[in-house]
Symmetry: C2
Subunit: 367 residues, 2 copies
Amino acid sequence: MSISTEGDSVAVIDSNHSGGTTEALLERGRALSLPLLRAAVDRLAPPMDTVAAYHFGWIDALGNPADGDGGKAVRPALALISAEAAGAPPEAGVPGAVAVELVHNFSLLHDDLMDGDEQRRHRDTVWKVHGPAQAILVGDALFALANEVLLELGTAEAGRATRRLTTATRKLIDGQAQDISFEGRERVTVRECLEMEGNKTGALLACACSIGAVLGGADDATADALETYGYHLGLAFQAVDDLLGIWGEPAVTGKQTWSDLRQRKKSLPVCAALAAGGPASDRLAEVLAADAKATGTENPEADDAFSEEEFATRAALIEESGGREWTTQEARRQHATALAALTGVAMPQAVRNQLTELADFVVVRRR
Amino acid sequence: MSISTEGDSVAVIDSNHSGGTTEALLERGRALSLPLLRAAVDRLAPPMDTVAAYHFGWIDALGNPADGDGGKAVRPALALISAEAAGAPPEAGVPGAVAVELVHNFSLLHDDLMDGDEQRRHRDTVWKVHGPAQAILVGDALFALANEVLLELGTAEAGRATRRLTTATRKLIDGQAQDISFEGRERVTVRECLEMEGNKTGALLACACSIGAVLGGADDATADALETYGYHLGLAFQAVDDLLGIWGEPAVTGKQTWSDLRQRKKSLPVCAALAAGGPASDRLAEVLAADAKATGTENPEADDAFSEEEFATRAALIEESGGREWTTQEARRQHATALAALTGVAMPQAVRNQLTELADFVVVRRR
């Protein structure tokens, strides 16, 4: 395994696997979970059904059918493989895949509104198109639907799965609270940042990796090991996201340029750069401190007033301080820890290969 | 039972019971559920724990301990009686009482933001004090906590209770969606309004009345009958709320004068007045139609531009059309239907008396 971080690439490892297999796993996750996901969304009272359909990319802002980008769907793919890890057919994981995807999208709807993000998946965000009230309401509805989809199974396994999902959702919300509070601070330690990202991204990805197994009848020890895999995979995923949030190509990511810098996100590259010390790190600290004083903590949108060059300078300071390189290495470390968590878990070799495929995908993606 | 609607009173029946007993039931509900409620809220990551404590009236806006109005706490009281209806001790209903109260307060946090309401329980609302992001986030957290409090019991009964709570929460959200959509319409039928109120208020009150019984081991038939009682009690409750939303005393209700008219709520008195026909009804329709044209549907806050006299005129037109009287009668009808639902249900006479007490309280309250 070798590190490749040349140019604007965020690839962290050279995967031994073909992208084609990963694409097939993601496509299977989407295809198997879509009917139940659409049926769940169709239960929503108007106009929430329409707003949700827009969010998922099934219709455009005018209500016409669309084939929009519904996201990478890493979580549904993992939920189905998780069922197979417990020796169950992938279909056993479908309600878990749908529930996790519903919670993920609930958080996107609310986070985009809280963060003032105007673009997601190459389209205007829901609050921008349908207004803040619909973003709040449809988010709430997706959260409730997630529990409904699981609990209507009426089994003891569904109860255990819902409990794990609830724990993950609470952490997700804790993580968003930490993320917001970090924006108003001058300094955030790398440890605090990792804790926040573990809550915000790790917990739900961990749940995606265990929920299928729980529904498939796995014991708690197996489910816990799969959660550990998913948690570290989530941290690797987020480290790559943080790299993309600064150095990603807007045309590929579907977000604004310098997205995370505009939001004053204290993401991993920023925290690592500030912790590194040295001239570039000190200069970055000065810039961010002046910034916080000038605009206050109450109005992050004021960042939009900065020029593109200002953001480019900040990105360069982060890179010069070693924040980009450290984050790339961290993604690699988390990737390795994730795979190590599977060592003691009995599962078919084909399933283990799939979990390795997806772990590799998470750290070599460009969006 | 006689109707008394003189002056500005919204009393719908003359109760045979003393208010003292009701106060004792409400106080018991508050006292028994508060430790678990506070413990649940204490689990939230900062600053969400502080924001939630402010919302519940435990601290003031500066963070100092307070003894604020935490609401009437009708739902916790009902959840404990519900456990007793199943022959269990009231304590068996406590996790249900807390879960329902958490969902209720999740909806208040989000609804106040969506509706732009600045006052609740004689204090500024959370979004007004702590900002929209915290109102969204803490609402989400309370919703997740509600499921957590039930599911961590780890019993089959807890799974059934969570399923009922999830169904009720989905209806609650449907009801808020309908409520918002009605504000932008010129006309809403009485039937549509009752359906909306059944979702928004009836469903969760129904759940409060069954959740304790489910946790106490009741069968589905008993739980369903208690839900029917609670559903109609909720509709009676909401009819009285609609009367208070127009004719309530701000000093008593803790809301603005003409609160519902400011929000353009198509509440029961308005829908009934519009459906009644006659000169006052026609005049009201004209006023509301002109109103909708003048301000557009996108900016309900523009209503604040109207004078107190304008709202007084509207209230008078609603009353002259018979909207106030019809709503008073409707509260009485729903109250009777609620009590009738208990007829076939076996329960101790003392418990039956308590359910009657609380039903009476709901329709004679002034806040």
